[in-house]
């Protein structure tokens, strides 16, 4: 009955699956004619493969023939586009259609034929066929991962329009495909065993659905950041307001070693006592020892390399102008342009390293991984329209100002860097230090995190962070609101201000201006300032800083591949590096001139990325570190280095759709304006599909498994314990169990004798034992047991040994092992 049903349906199901696979693979790649050709080719391939498989042709010959035919069709197709003959004959349009039909139809035909042929000849290779079908269907949805939601757009747009979550659509399609493949598998294997194992598979799949929240949107995995997220192994350098008994020397005049904290070094500085030593160690060790560096350095987007070049070039020119026409005087007289910032061209930074790891050699080291920083990290919604004078938004997460002798790390003072909020707000949390309100504009907004981070971040400079409900529990890990005092004063008007805050203690001022021990910084800085600035502005802190910035813009080369042991190594080496190197260089040079400065780390997004909307999508490639200097009356001012030369490959363009969709989600706007906003319902609870139910199911399954094994063991052991009366029955049953483990099972309606005869080739002694067993049951019960050999226990123990030995000679030992592990093999025995 089953066989008949299957025989009829098999081909139909197979055709359907193959047609779907062909369509999935060629969708969007070819013309309609090509699609139709692929469809027809796949269908024809099913039958051709079947026919070839049943023919007497040898497999290699048949496969070779299929390959040759495929090559021939391709050749013919290339004739249509590479040579002029066909276009002249048919016209160019028809020639293209001809080529597409030949190419796609031929490929589908050849591929499907080969797969079917192989599957017919070698049934185990059916897996190959099923795998190709599964891969083809999956490929359509491959883009829907790593946080990039809702691909393909054709499908998700339709779903949004009809107010369906596209995830459900995708899940439905996936479930449908699984069912299709399962049906195909059952149908092709033609045995009840396939069905029962599929049931087990379904139970496992259900379990995984219950335990893993698969229905949510895909969570991005950050391929790199600056240690901003929780994902990596290496944590960021922690701020330690009280550094136990090993506080740093507050003395700014101390040497490099004095800034080091012996108890909790940042992993970057390691045990080096000074920059020179660190450099040496770094040189020796190369960059291989970055034990704590869990993050990698993708590239953020050298796509804007051109921009950076332009911007930097312009700036350089202007600076030259300013330098030569130094007599203009006045704040505005200086024709300094706002610092042009490249579009992510300086996006990369290494992770600061973890304290617990063995000290690595390279403080900046980050594991060399392939670039790729498109994974979305967070989305920021700006409530107020704000256009930064620098042309880019800087979201500050943490600050590194403590000089350790080899690099800057988070401070351990409790009076420095108070303008950053450390912890995610549960109540409205004001920053402990707020920059002066003048020259700044208040910008409010909200951040929704896609990946958990260690600290909150906000547009510089944060004034207050406050909690806000997560707008979409499935999508975001947390959200908060921020109010920032963002810089509004133009860079040109910063000239003429004093550096540092007059309210700072001398100690604090010294802390922020603690220069590196290497005297070359001072020499270089002085040299640059002398060369670039006229006498009048030569003492102006901002002019000095800008001159150094422009100098660095010109001199430095951006590359995320570069590794340097120390900043000195970088600055007096090949000058090829990324944002952390740049920022350190700038801060060291500024500090050597006595300008209070530090490094901030966080995210950076070019204003143009907004594309006019209020949502800003921050991607892992936008992680950034930049130098800042303190100007009296303005506070900490971002003065980023934008290298003119970028030797990284271009990065990923902003995904506007994703930015828009995530922004709508963060704002809790329904994608369909016709439906009421979801606010009335409140945030949707995260669905775990009943974890308790899952545990219940798991324990039930485990209990069932244990029970099955117990029964299996019992049936194997009981022949040794049974009474003589039931010895034949239980012994024979134990033998049947063994045979079932080896895959030898009596078929329905088959008599015991026929079964024994059927497997006599493999297990010859079983026939005799079967006769004994049947005689025990169907023989004359009046005969005295002594006269009946079937009740003799030794006969049976010998029989068990014989069967075990004969099964041991079977050619496939792994099959027996599988059978032994199979908990329900005895269920086949009846």
């Amino acid at each position: 009955m089953w066989d008949k049903l299957v025989a009829g349906w098999r081909h139909a199901v197979r055709c359907l699956a193959m047609a779907l696979a062909a369509l999935a693979l060629s969708w969007g790649v070819t013309l309609t004619e090509g699609l139709v050709a692929a469809l027809v080719g796949a269908l024809a391939g099913v039958f051709a493969g079947e026919a070839l498989g049943r023919s007497r042709l040898r497999l290699p010959v048949a496969l070779g023939g299929v390959t040759l035919g495929l090559l021939g069709l391709w050749g013919l197709a290339s004739l249509g586009v590479r040579h002029e003959l066909l276009p002249e004959l048919l016209g160019p349009g028809n020639a293209l259609v001809f080529a597409a039909v030949l190419r796609f139809g031929g490929t589908a035909l050849g591929l499907v034929t080969a797969l079917r042929l192989v599957a017919v000849r070698r049934p185990s290779l059916l897996a190959l066929e099923l795998g190709v079908i599964a891969a083809a269907i999956t490929s359509v949805f491959a883009a829907h991962r790593d946080g990039v939601i809702a691909r393909p757009l054709a499908l998700s747009d339709w779903a949004w329009r009809n107010d369906i979550d596209p995830v459900h659509v995708f899940l439905a399609i996936g479930a449908g495909s699984v069912v299709l493949l399962a049906v195909l598998l059952v149908v092709e294997t033609r045995s009840g065993r396939g069905l029962s194992s599929l049931l087990a598979l379904a139970a496992l799949a259900l379990l995984s659905v219950l335990f893993f929240n698969v229905s949510g949107l895909p969570q991005p995995t950050p391929s790199m950041d600056l240690g901003l997220t929780d994902a990596g192994t290496g944590g960021p350098p922690r701020r330690t307001p009280d550094a136990g008994g090993h506080g740093p020397s507050p003395n700014p005049g101390g040497d490099g070693g004095s800034g080091q904290r012996p108890g909790e070094d940042d992993g970057g500085g390691g045990p080096d006592s000074g920059g020179e030593d660190g450099g040496g160690a770094g040189l020796d060790g190369g960059d291989g020892g970055g034990g704590g560096a869990g993050q990698d350095a993708g590239d953020g987007g050298g796509g804007a390399g051109q921009d950076a070049g332009d911007g930097g070039g312009g700036a350089g020119q202007d600076a030259g102008e300013g330098g030569s026409s130094g007599g203009d005087g006045g704040d505005s007289g200086l024709n300094f342009p706002p610092p042009e910032l490249s579009d992510g061209g300086v996006g990369q930074a290494p992770p600061p390293q973890d304290a617990g790891r063995p000290p690595p050699q390279d403080p900046f080291d980050n594991r060399d991984r392939p670039p790729g920083g498109a994974a979305p990290m967070a989305v920021v919604i700006l409530d107020d329209d704000y256009s930064p004078p620098s042309g880019a938004y800087y979201f500050r997460q943490e600050v590194w100002s403590l000089y350790t002798g080899s690099r800057l790390v988070a401070t351990n003072r409790n009076d420095a860097d108070l303008d950053v909020v450390d912890d995610f707000p549960t109540l409205p949390t004001p920053a402990r230090e707020v920059p002066p309100r003048t020259h700044r504009t208040r910008v409010r907004g909200m951040v929704a995190l896609l990946v958990d981070h260690t600290h909150p971040f906000a547009l510089e400079s944060a004034q207050e962070l406050s909690p806000t409900p997560n707008p979409n529990e499935q999508r975001f890990v947390r959200a908060w609101r921020f109010a920032s005092l963002a810089q509004s004063i133009d860079y040109r008007r910063l000239v003429g201000r004093r550096a540092g805050n007059p309210t700072w203690s001398a100690d604090l001022r010294g802390y922020y201006t603690q220069p590196p021990t290497d005297p070359r910084y001072r020499q270089l800085a002085q040299q640059v300032v002398d060369r670039a600035l006229p006498q009048r502005t030569r003492r102006d802190p901002f002019a000095q800083a800008l001159a150094i910035k422009l100098y660095l813009d010109r001199e430095l080369i951006y590359s995320t591949r570069a590794r340097h042991a120390t900043t000195e190594d970088f600055l007096w080496g090949n000058r090829t590096g990324y944002c952390v190197h740049f920022a350190h260089s700038a801060v060291y040079l500024w500090r050597s001139l006595g300008i209070p400065s530090r490094i901030s780390a966080g995210y950076h997004s070019d204003e143009s990325n907004r594309r006019g909307g209020s949502a800003i999508l921050l991607r892992s490639g936008d992680a950034h570190a930049w130098p800042e200097l303190y100007l009296d009356g303005v506070g900490w001012v971002v003065l980023d280095i934008a290298a003119e030369r970028n030797i990284d490959p271009p990065g990923h363009a902003t995904d506007e759709d994703l930015q828009r969709i995530l922004g709508e989600m963060a704002r809790r706007q329904p994608p369909n304006p016709n439906t009421p906003p979801q606010d009335v319902r409140g945030p949707r609870p995260q669905t775990h599909y009943g974890r308790d139910l899952g545990y219940g199911l798991l324990y039930t399954l485990l209990a069932a498994l244990g029970l099955l094994y117990a029964i299996k063991l019992w049936r194997r052991v009981i022949p040794y314990l049974a009474s003589p009366r039931s010895t034949p029955r239980v012994s024979y049953r134990a033998l049947l169990d063994r045979l079932a483990e080896a895959g030898l099972v009596r078929e329905t309606g088959e008599s015991r004798e026929d079964f024994a005869k059927r497997i006599a080739g493999a297990v010859p002694s079983f026939e005799r034992l079967t006769a004994l067993h049947v005689a025990a049951r169907l023989g004359n019960p009046m005969t005295a047991p002594e006269e009946r050999p079937e009740y003799d226990r030794s006969t049976w123990s010998k029989g068990r040994r014989d069967v075990a030995r004969e099964l041991g000679q079977q050619p496939r030992p792994w099959r027996r092992l599988l059978g032994l592990l199979h908990p329900a093999s005895w269920l086949d025995v009846h």
């Binding site: 009366r725 029955r729 088959e750 008599s751 049951r777 169907l778 023989g779």
Partner: protein, 346 residues
């Protein structure tokens, strides 16, 4: 009795030692099997069935084409049997060629007036034999057929209102040609039911046929003639031993009844298996078990005999012609139940 005919038969006046156990009965089987297999090549399965029918006290209907060896087989069977009671009027083997103009008395015998004694005396017909070959039984009129069939069912025949008993070992091998049906009188199902087995003979395989051609001369010269025979009394004893000593388990009987019910419920079958056929099957199963040297009947016996016993007893609905498939389908479930029963606790 003409003396020339009697001389061709094997007669003994000294009775063989009686057969009392299954070993002796199996000796009979072996002797029959050896002689028959020597005489008829390539028909081992038919020979098995024939021996089973003989020991189960049934009759056989062979469906075959001319020249397939049925007469040879029947004659060889007659040749196996030694008449140890030569004084009665019953001989070991007779062949009756049925024709449309045959009369019942041609079969059963007739009373003849003897002018010497002025009395009628009964002259036995060919039916008074141990083995009767009824050739082309469907060619004769129903009248003759029914006379024949009475004899088969009752082991007696009635001539001139006087009932005469046939020998206890009365075994009929009837044949009919399934193709040449012109001018025939097909046996009604009630009469078919009298035959324990209906066997459709198939052409023998190439090797056997070659062997027949090769051994033709040797057999003509009388090869295998000196193989041991068995006496009529031995056969009767063997039947009794089989009936008493071969065990039929209740599970087997359940299987038979289940099968019968299955055939009665099957929509492809107009008339299911009769109870009589089940009754007849029991000795057949026992005989089969003996030929396999077993003292109990098992599932294999049932499966083996089902086709031979039930194929001519089931009347199929129009549109169904594959009787073998019907039997196979119907016996599947009872067989499964039987197989499972052997693993159940008693």
């Amino acid at each position: 009795m003409e003396t020339d005919f009697q001389q061709s038969e094997h007669i003994t006046h000294t009775p063989a030692p009686p057969i009392t156990d299954l070993n002796g009965a199996y000796g009979v089987v072996q002797r029959l099997r050896n002689r028959l297999q020597m005489a008829v090549r390539g028909r081992d399965e038919i020979i098995e069935v024939l021996i089973i029918a003989l020991l189960a006290d049934g009759h056989m209907l062979l469906e075959d084409y001319p020249g397939s060896g049925k007469t040879t087989l029947a004659k060889a069977l007659g040749d196996c049997i030694i008449d140890d009671r030569p004084d009665d009027e019953i001989v070991t083997f007779r062949r009756i060629q049925f024709t449309p103009d045959l009369l019942p008395s041609d079969v059963t015998g007739t009373t003849i007036f003897d002018p010497n004694t002025n009395r009628f005396f009964f002259r036995p017909g060919p039916i008074f034999a141990h083995v009767v070959l009824a050739d082309e039984i469907n060619r004769t009129s129903p009248k003759v057929q029914s006379a024949m069939l009475e004899a088969m069912a009752e082991k007696q025949t009635t001539v001139d209102n006087r009932t005469r008993k046939l020998d206890e070992l009365f075994f009929v091998i009837a044949t009919q040609n399934p193709l040449d049906l012109a001018g025939t009188f097909p046996l009604p199902s009630a009469q078919l039911d009298r035959f324990l087995f209906k066997v459709r003979m198939k052409h023998i395989d190439r090797a056997s046929e070659l062997e027949i051609l090769a051994s033709y001369k040797a057999r003509k010269a009388g090869a295998g003639q000196d193989l041991p025979r068995c006496t009529r009394t031995e056969l009767i004893h063997a039947r009794a031993v089989i009936e008493n000593a071969v065990w039929v388990a209740p599970e087997i009987r359940e299987c038979l009844v289940d099968f019968a019910n299955k055939t009665r419920a099957d929509p492809r079958v107009l008339q299911g298996t009769s109870t009589r056929s089940l009754v007849l099957m029991i000795p057949a199963l026992q005989a089969r078990a003996l030929t396999r040297v077993r003292d109990y009947v098992n599932a294999e016996d049932v499966a083996y005999l089902a086709q031979y016993i039930f194929a001519h007893r089931l009347e199929l609905a129009p549109g169904t012609d594959n009787i073998e498939a019907v039997i196979r389908d119907c016996i599947n479930e009872p067989m499964e139940r039987l197989a499972r029963a052997t693993l159940k606790r008693v």
